[in-house]
């Protein structure tokens, strides 16, 4: 035990008490003179009596003080004077009054202090019955102190405690000095009292009682405080069985509780214990570690419970929130947790690894989901596939909101090989494929995103084969490719990471699909306008010309009908396609018409074979890719 205890000196006691003594002594006289109602008589009598005790107690106190200094300085034990017995009687009487502890400038504590000193120094002497009595009185006094200690501890002003919640709005309104004195939730008068009691108990040899009372009470208070924040303990078993929606609701309160603990409560707890047990660093360290360890492990167990549930992609973001909370608060913990907390720090790292691995595996799950999407029904009209939509929106959200966190997760945990594991570390794809993305200058997360995009691309290519019409599969690829590009370009976060290589490649792929589409649909149509075979020996062969017109009309009609049903959601792509179609079809048709329309007889024949004017063609082209069943008759102007 540390002996930093400074017994109250006689002079300081007297100095503080002189005034009070006189007033206390005079008081009864005054009060009897004044016209007090009868009912107060008993009160007055008691006061008078108490003052009487005090008066003689004061004298005995001084005598004992002198006696004690003799006892403490002299090697030889002096005889025990009579006033010691008298003093003990007086103290016992005072004790039986159960006065509030901190009345009269804490004189009670000073008396207790003397009793403890007497007990200590007389222990060696042969005055056994006296020692027994003093021991009894000391024990009573200590019980009283312990009760007081507990009840002071048990009633913190909890309203004040959620002060530094960074999302809280009331923080700024709080007076800084008030907060300063209030850091622990106790008012500024309470903490010095706790400190005085603790000192007295430790000095009297009741250190363990004091520490246990402190530890149990504070643990329970922290538990209650966390409860008030909405944090609820959940068993791992329960977490398995809970619906994600229900479990998810517990995560924000946990985050709040964890932040509060690491940023506010633990450091306050540390200050509190150091203040209450000031001068006893080993006691305060011990108490602090006992209090914090339990709370901390309990908070980490919540994460363990969450990390044990079945993974799925929608859970990623909550996992990342937890990961962030664990990571961000490590540094604030470093300030609070001293060396003994190595264990807790390791626990926290282990837990963080678990949640980080979960996050990484969710990306692997996403890869697997893309790979195993075996839906055999093509999307009508070659529109954007739901898989593309889901994957791209997922990646965009992940990058926009969590890129920094995910980057860190991948950096810290992607190379995890479980030590002590009997099976090989998992590898999710062939090594050759992995190397492709393991560019030294590229973050593992970007590698992951690229891998997912490539997988998506191959999946889409496979799906495009489901269309019998090559032109439609080109539209499908263009739609999806465009969607991917737009999503990436709209997110500064991914776009920047991609370094344009992927975008350039995809754009060039899209141009190829466009070319193929034109070739498949429109070059065939232009085949009808071929002049070859129309002129035989400088003369236009009319039946052939009629045939050309007829097949052109039929084919265009057919294209219009089918491709109006096709879908291009992206307005820009839609207009690009229409412009590029018009650019090849209309000039060719116009010149064909200019050159050959004259060969048909005006009137019925012209009407029969020339169904479209160039302007009509343009109008009909504008019907394409709208997803509507295009009926020419209706739309024909």
């Amino acid at each position: 035990m540390e002996e930093n205890h400074k017994p109250a000196t006689s002079s300081s006691f007297k100095k503080g008490d002189d005034k009070e003594e006189s007033s206390e002594v005079e008081k009864p006289e005054k009060e009897t003179k004044s016209e007090q109602p009868q009912s107060q008589d008993i009160d007055d009598k008691e006061k008078e009596e108490r003052a009487g005790i005090k008066h003689t107690l004061q004298k005995s106190y001084d005598d004992i003080q002198t006696f004690l200094s003799k006892l403490e300085n002299d090697a030889e034990a002096p005889d025990i004077p009579d006033f010691v017995h008298k003093y003990v009687d007086l103290v016992e009487k005072k004790l039986s009054k159960h006065e509030p502890l901190f009345q009269d400038d804490g004189s009670f504590l000073k008396v207790v202090d003397q009793i403890s000193r007497l007990y200590k120094h007389l222990s060696d002497s042969d005055k056994a019955p006296l020692i027994n009595r003093i021991g009894q009185i000391q024990q009573q006094a200590m019980c009283y102190l312990e009760d007081e200690f507990r009840s002071l501890l048990e009633e913190p002003d909890l309203k004040q405690e959620v002060v530094a919640d960074q999302h809280g709005e009331d923080q700024s309104t709080l007076d800084q000095s008030k907060e300063e004195s209030n850091f622990s939730g106790y008012s500024y008068q309470v903490i010095p009292k706790l400190n005085k009691i603790a000192k007295e108990m430790i000095f009297g040899g009741y250190e363990s009682e004091c520490c246990e009372a402190y530890m149990v009470t504070r643990r329970n208070i922290i538990d209650e405080t966390l409860n008030k924040l909405g944090y609820e303990k959940i068993s791992i078993d329960e977490a398995q069985k809970m619906q994600w929606e229900a479990l998810e609701k517990n995560i924000p309160p946990w985050i709040k509780a964890f932040k509060q603990c690491t940023k506010v409560y633990f450091s306050n707890e540390c200050r509190l214990v150091e203040t209450v047990f000031s001068g006893y660093p080993s006691l305060s360290t011990n108490l602090f570690s006992n209090i914090v360890r339990g709370v901390f492990l309990q908070l980490l167990n919540f994460v363990e419970a969450v990390a044990t549930i079945k993974r799925s992609t929608e859970k990623l973001f909550k996992f990342l929130d937890i990961y962030d909370t664990l990571r961000d608060n490590l540094s604030s913990l470093d300030g609070v947790l001293p060396k003994w907390a190595e264990e807790l720090r390791n626990e926290m790292t282990t837990t963080r690894c678990r949640i980080g691995e979960m996050a990484i595996f969710i990306f692997c799950d996403l890869e697997n989901a893309i790979k195993s999407d075996t839906e055999k029904t093509p999307v009508p009209g070659g529109a954007v596939h739901p898989l593309t939509r889901y994957t791209m929106n997922y990646l965009k959200y992940a990058c926009d909101e969590y890129k920094e966190t995910i980057e860190k997760v991948f950096k810290d945990h992607s190379k995890i090989e479980r030590a002590n594991s009997t099976n090989k570390p998992r590898s999710h794809e062939g090594d050759s494929e992995k190397n492709k993305y393991d560019d030294e200058n590229q973050s593992p997360f970007v590698g992951q995103v690229l891998r997912i995009l490539d997988l998506l691309d191959s999946a889409l290519e496979a799906k495009s084969k489901l269309y019998k019409d090559i032109a439609l599969s080109c539209i499908f690829m263009m739609n999806n490719g465009r969607y991917m590009l737009q999503k990436i370009k709209s997110s500064a976060e991914i776009h920047q990471a991609m370094k344009d290589t992927w975008c350039r490649k995809t754009s060039s792929d899209l141009r190829n699909y466009h070319q193929t589409y034109k070739r498949e649909t429109w070059m065939k149509l232009l085949g009808c306008l071929n002049v070859e075979g129309l002129n035989v020996n400088g003369k236009v062969v009319k039946p052939v010309l009629k045939e050309r017109f007829k097949s052109f009309n039929a084919m265009f009609d057919d294209i219009h009908r089918t491709q109006s049903l096709w879908v291009v959601n992206d307005k820009q792509l839609q207009s690009e396609l229409r412009v590029s179609i018009s650019a090849i079809v209309i000039p060719a048709y116009r010149s064909f018409l200019a050159r050959f329309s004259g060969y048909l007889d005006p009137g019925r024949q012209t009407e029969k074979y020339i169904k479209f004017q160039p302007e009509d063609i343009e109008t009909f082209i504008d019907d394409l890719f709208d997803g509507n069943s295009g009926s020419m008759s209706r739309k024909k102007p």
Binding site: S96, H98, S123, A128, P129, I131, N132, R133, I134, G135, Q136, I137, Q138, Q139, M142, C143, Y144, E146, D147, R150, G205, Y206, S208, E209, C211, E212, A213, M215, V216, T217, R219, N220, E224, N227, E232, K233, S235, I236, D237, E238, Q240, G294, L297, N301, E304, T308, E347, T350, R354, N368, K371, S372, D373, T374, R418, N420, S421, T422, N423, R426
Partner: protein, 383 residues
Amino acid sequence: MTGTDQSSFLGRISIRRNQVNAMEGYHEQEIEDLELFQKQLSDRFAELLSAPDDAPTEAFLSISWIRKLLDVFLCCETECKAILLMERDAAQISKPPLDRLIPELLERVVKAMDICNAVTNGVELVRHCQKLAEIAVSALEQKPFGEGQARRAKKALVSLMSAMHVDDKESSVQKTAERSWSFGRRSGNKDRHHGHYRSLSWQVAKHWSASKQIHAMTMNLAAPRGPEASCLPAPVYILSLIIVFVMWVLIAAIPCQERSGLTTHLPINKHVNWTHSLAGMHDKIGEEWKKKEKKGMAGLLYELQKMEKLGQSLIEFTDSYQFPGEKEKLDEVAAQVAELAEVCRRMDEGLVPLQMLIREAFHRLVRNRTEFLDVLEQGTPVV
């Protein structure tokens, strides 16, 4: 068991498995591995069973004994997992009946994780008991031994008893409704009761019950029969049974949330050799539990029981003590105090390492569950 024993065993399995493809008679080798493993289990459990009932150190159910049990558990667990998983793929462990047995095993693992946490809280309560007992010891060791010290010791011992007997259910966050004060200054009576305060809260979660978890863990826990008894279902059963047994012992020994109705019948197949000692321990602890459950007690932990017995007797002594006391009685009490001091010392020495071991067991369960899931997941069809 020494580390080399284990590494050689694991090495043996590893070599076997690497030769799998080339070798004929692979199944015979596996049976041999399993038999060797069961032999080792049998030896280790026999050693645990042979611990003396009452001894200053290493008694049955003492802290050091439980630490040994946990050591054995960690070893068995590693080996069992090696037999089950080493060099295997999902196809091998996901065909019937393993497709049912392994998920059941993993569910037991989850429940065992919670039990580890509950027991961790329980150990904290034991530490609290230790502190209270230490107060009593230091008061009782005072010379001359005055009435004040007697009262001090009694107060600590009464708190100790109430901490020990805190009803599992009542240990919730709610404030103990009534508080009697050492000094009746608030209510005005002079009744010098000993303070009755809230004890440590130690919940795992609301409504969580250790005995229900054990009950759930024993469901469908049946020894494999016929040809299954010599192939993979056997180690799954062994691992399950050991997990359930060890968790059951921890709950019976250490205070824990909601233990009422704890089963005393684990489905141990007594017809195989290796379970003999395990069944022996089970019967012994089960009997003990039945006896004590009625009385209500902190746990079968040797040190706790000792503490309880000595505490009761010392309360009686302090209750009627009058200074200066009879020498004979004082000497007799001095012996008890020395015994209590010894119990405290053993707790002081053993509880922290025990706490760490329980935590290690927890992390091991977490990790192994992940490893099983990994192997199973690798088998998901990849298109």
